[in-house]
């Protein structure tokens, strides 16, 4: 019995010892070497060169404004600390060869007699503002104008593979109004600053200001089929007369990727974002739904632009956008989103469907395009307009016109050149065919067999007989 206890205590001691060794082990590491070259000593007998230093408008520390000639041993650099220069209102920016005004590197060895001139520039005053932003101990340079601060910062993404440089804009009044409204509750986002970096696909760069005195720069982009807010880094902010009501328990660390203040509350009213300009494009969203537990998979469609995404249709009129986990060292699929669909009167997945030439249907969710075989899925034909005639533009490989039997036609752009598939409809018009005369709403030229019209800079030649035949 005693032995057993002793044995157990022994094991415990071993475990403790093993744990203790961690510190010791770690502390042995990290002895990098940084060798230095040989050292040199002054030798009065060695060759020396004379270097003339022209203060060029400034003055040496002793007040003299005349050029000085000094002697420097071969293979030595000039000890600049002995020749400090001053010129009120100017910054000394080094030296240049008097001969050609090429800069003279500060640590360069002297190898010949030389005349050098001082380089100067006017001192720029650094403005101080109420707002300060600090990243990794360094204060960012801000510009300020009429209540608006701006700063430029280049953040790294994908672990540094590439960068997102952006000009951020902070409206001081809004930031402080939100700060004032804040009652001091923990973990609140006070303000969101937009930047000038915007991607056509919806990606953007922005900054969040928190009520613990931290701010964080984000790049929003699509990852594994989901919009992801990638934290590029974090810093501190202060504003004169403002003390953060909530103090972070620890100093925020510079982060890479992971949001440091996940789940913090936005409590102020978010103003509507400015419209998307003239294009008026808004992202289509399918209707969210929940797949019943006993629902059966009836069809799986592929994603045309990535192998890791797929779409799975269930028999309870829901479908899931799924992400293949095998690339992540796991197995199976992760449902990124679940949505409703119907297939009784044509397929309706809640977003625009494109009928491809091979009869498959495609639709886009979160910028990924999925292919569906309507026959395999058991889609009932739609009683609506059907495509009856298609012809490509005569002057473009990517544009085409599609005529429907409901007397509309669409100008479509082939997305395959955009790393996507399917077509994007740029214009929709009406058409009519009366007594063999085709009217397409825009100006057209009758060329006998064909009618040619131009819209959006592209020309389409419609063979009227084929269109008429297709209608019947």
């Amino acid at each position: 019995m005693k032995n057993k206890k002793r044995a157990m205590l022994g094991v415990l001691a071993l475990m403790l010892g093993g744990t203790m060794s961690l510190g010791a082990f770690a502390s042995c590491q990290g002895e990098g070497g940084s060798p230095t070259g040989g050292t040199k000593e002054e030798d009065p007998n060695a060759p020396h060169y004379s270097v003339t230093l022209d203060p060029n408008g400034g003055a040496f520390a002793d007040g003299s404004t005349e050029a000085k000639t000094i002697s420097v041993q071969e293979g030595f650099s000039i000890d600049w600390s002995k020749y400090g220069l001053v010129w009120e209102g100017n910054d000394h920016l080094g030296w240049m060869y008097a001969e050609n005004e090429k800069p003279f590197p500060g640590a360069r060895y002297v190898t010949e007699d030389t005349t050098l001139k001082a380089r100067w520039s006017a001192t720029e005053e650094k403005a101080t503002y109420d707002l300060t932003l600090t990243i990794a101990g360094e204060e960012l340079t801000l510009s300020y104008e009429a209540g608006v601060y701006q700063f430029y910062y280049t953040g790294e993404i994908y672990g540094g593979y590439t960068k997102r440089g952006a000009l951020y804009t902070v409206y001081e009044e809004e930031l402080m109004a939100n700060a004032k409204k804040d009652d001091g509750s923990a973990q609140r986002i006070l303000y969101r600053a937009e930047s000038n970096y915007v991607e056509a696909t919806g990606g953007e760069v922005y900054a969040l200001f928190y009520n613990d005195g931290a701010f964080e720069l984000f790049y929003k982009y699509m990852f594994q089929g989901k919009w992801t807010d990638y934290s590029m880094l974090m810093g501190y902010w202060t504003n004169k007369g403002y003390t953060p009501p909530y103090q972070a328990p620890e100093a925020p660390q510079a982060s890479q990727g992971i949001c440091m203040h996940e789940g913090w509350e936005v409590f102020y009213t978010v103003e509507e974002k400015p419209s998307e300009g003239e294009t008026g494009e808004t992202e289509e969203k399918p209707v969210e739904a929940t797949t019943a537990e006993d629902a059966k998979e009836i069809y799986t469609g592929t994603c045309s632009n990535t192998d890791t995404m797929r779409v799975v249709f269930f028999d309870d009129n829901t479908y899931q956008i799924q992400y293949d986990l095998s690339g992540q060292g796991a197995s199976g699929y992760y449902a990124v989103g679940t949505y409703a669909y119907t297939k009784d009167n044509g397929l309706d997945v809640g977003v625009t469907l494109t009928e491809n030439e091979d009869g498959t249907l495609s639709f886009t969710v979160d910028q990924n395009t999925y292919l569906v075989d309507p026959v395999a899925l058991g889609v009932q034909p739609k009683a609506e307009a059907r495509e009856i005639y298609t012809v490509g533009a005569t002057n473009s490989k990517t544009m085409r016109v599609v005529f429907f039997d409901d007397n509309t036609y669409q100008i479509q752009y082939d997305l395959s050149g955009q790393g996507s598939s399917g077509y994007y409809t740029t214009e929709t018009h009406k058409w009519s065919l009366v007594d063999g005369k085709l009217d397409v709403e825009v100006e057209s030229v009758d060329k006998g067999d064909t009618v040619e019209f131009t819209t959006g800079g592209n020309t389409y030649a419609v063979t009227v007989a084929d269109l008429a035949a297709a209608l019947n």
Binding site: M8, L14, F25, K102, S143, Y152
Partner: protein, 967 residues
Amino acid sequence: MKLFSKKLWTACSSVFTSAFAVMIAGTIVANFFYTSLNAFFACDTYKVVKGDTNENTNRYPDEWAGYNDWFEAYERELCEKTEGEGAVLLKNENNALPLAKGNNVSLFSHSSVDIVYSGTGSGSVDAASAPNLKKAFTDRGLNVNEKLWTFYNTGEGSKYKRKVPSLDTCSAKGSYEVNETPWSVYTDEVKASFRKFGDAAIFVLSRSGGEGGDLARTNAVDEGMNGDYLALSAQEKEVLAQLKKYKDDGVFGKIVVLLNSSNAVNCNFLDDEKYGIDACLWVGGPGAYGTNAIADILVGNVNPSGRLADTYLYNNLENPSLVNFGDCTYTNAAAVGLTDTNDTNETNVNYVVYQEGIYVGYKYYETRYEDVVMQTENVGSFDYASQVYRPFGYGGSYTTFAYSDFTVKETSDSFEVSVTVTNTGSKAGKHAVEIYMQKPYSEYDKEFGVEKAAVELVGFDKTQLLSAGKSEKVNVSVPKEFMKSYDANEAKTYILDQGDYYLTVGTDSHNAIDNILEAKGFDTDGNAKMAKKVATVNKVDTKIYSESLVTGEPITNHFDEADINKYDGISEQVTYLSRSDWEGTYPKSTIQLTATNQLAKDVLDEYVPGVGYEKPVYGASNGLTLAMMMGKDYDDPAWDDLLDQMTFEEQEQLVVYGFHNTRAVASIGKPSTMEENGPQGVTKSFMGAGSAGMAYPAETVMASTWSKEIMTEIGDCLGIQALKSNVNGIYGPGANIHRNAYCGRNYEYFSEDAVFSGLMMAPEIRAIQAHGVYVQMKHFALNDQETHRGGLMTWANEQAIREAYLPAFEIGVREGGAKGAMTVMNRIGAIWGGAHYGLHTQVARGEWGFDGYTITDYSSSSNFTSVINGLSAGVSLWDGYTYGETNTPKLKDLSDDNYACQVLREGVKRILYVQVNSSAMNGISATDRIVPILTWWQSALIAVDVVLGVLAAGSWVMFVLSQKKEK
């Protein structure tokens, strides 16, 4: 005692065991990403154990060490100087420029507050310190309309932002969008401010571009552009038209346009009466401090001396390469089994045909122009004046220059050209002297399909700052070798053609051809005195240039399989653009190609091991270190003894895991190295490099300086910055060709002319490498579009490849002494460019004497960057952290394959040979040893593993003991 509770130890043993298992798995995963993690944490991976020596091992010292603030000031001035000499005055009616100091100006367009400093992607630079236009203009004494500025910057106008595509590995998704502030948004208050700031309306026209995404030609989304991103949008047109109205009403004195784009925009609006534009300054991508130089030019502190590196057209679609650019797919791809369409990994269904052959940029416009003047048969309808807005080499000035005493002296291997340049105006200025050659277009050429441009740039130089009335004699040496042409069909080598050869000094490519035409007796605007017939060859000579002047290697065809007409993999034949029949051969529509089964087989690029190779020695103890090889010839037998010391695994890992670094090798004392991106400056690195260097203006602006002196200074600073950032090699400069204006990455490349690109790049390379920092010229070669760049099949004939694309790299090697190159992601014909033996071994090494090493472009996600095939072709290093999923065997599985072992050994030797003579060896002497160490994170993981292992094992023992106890 609770310590012995069974429950406690059940819990402990399961918790610790799970944690141990998780940690072990984590450790395995972490070690898989060894290279990336080291890069990320900037770890020391080795230590130097010093030998007994006092040798000064600081071979490539940072001469600015300790004086970083002085260096920064120098770089800032250099950045300004580059923009100041690179910006091109395209138009200046009635001396609208310079403006007077104290002028009140209004800056228009949303881009005026948000200019494009460079481009997007890996070459993008940090513009954090960049002064905006308002600050730059105000500092130079102009008064800027604050109300209008605020309107764009933070007011109603700020809602309109330029949009760019989103880059994902190889390809960028989405489009470039202008999204300019519409006139309807301008408030009355803003409009009322114009009069007070009416001395000049300055309109900033910006266009972006970048990696992975070309510019739209037919599908740009902004209104009014007709799908062409380089045209004006409806909003821009309206604002410009409104400015004209205000000018007519006397509100604005003049209208000035700043072209802030590295891609040439359509210039048709510049002379359009609707807009009444008085002056236009092309500024390109100005980098961090270029805005100061723009302001200096506007107020006359600097006299512009930049000259175009591209032909500027009224309409960019009128370019013979345009119909064969971008997105082309084999009509029958799927039918022959070509189905890869994933732009991130690879496509094998897309292609591009360089149907225009050698007629890239000015070589088309000036040549067809000459044929129009000479009334050559089949010249067709071609009106130079309505297509070309400003020729290649054009640039305005605030003064005027005149040439005199144009002389040419012949030596055994060169023409020594000299001309006196006199400043005949009233302001001091610099002037670039451009020397062009005309080679004869002979009957031989017509018979055998050799093409000739009417003029080709063969040399240039720039004067110093000449004050009014002062002259300078400029000498340019033109190697006679420029007289050669490549005959891919009959002689299958370079020939010296029969006929007359001319040299001329031209103010631009058009003036050059006019001078030659005058000398030939035609009536043009040229000056016959500025052109000279320098040689007449009576009979075609197929011998004189048939051997490399560098190596003596016989020169013959190596790109037949990239020429559709000589390759079985494509059903069609292509008619290349030919001077013999302009009308009949001008590319009018996209060539639709049909693939054959041969192509489907060839794209697989199966691995075929060489036979008769011996197994190299591994793991020998010869006592050598890499440092002992410093300065030794590549052929020195000691290399073999050194390589014998390495293991197969060491060699394999050195070559495969080269993402922005190369690994340390214990057996030979090789230190690790770091490499970074950098056409526009050394970029900030997550590889442990220090801070980012100066963001210089885009390469296109550098080119437009026509100053080798500036290129030397930039190279010098890049080298110093690399030393400061602990970077040993730079992924740059870029030397692909502006085949047309739509390539997304044009800002990272110099020009449409390959010889000019090479002549500008060579001094930069020399200067960078003088600091022990090696370059990787990119992208070698034929990566002249971004669309489908991962796998795109590029089809071109051999004369075009050798004359219009390769000379940039060739001059980089022969004159710049480049020690490195980076491959392309696309294919040359059916073969991935990194596995093209002809390019890398027969041409680069065999003909040019290239003795550096070549790295691939980013390789991890690709499924075509085969290591074994690349090594066989002469490429040495993979820019990745893991193998791509290629269909050839992985190198690590080929340790029993003697041929694979030998090509691997050769690749390793290439890397070592460059690095041993570089800054990588700073601090290391021959007697030192390099000892790889566990990085801190590896140590930490092992420590945690050990502790958890002990805890788990202990808990199990305790669990067993406690169970026994309970019994």
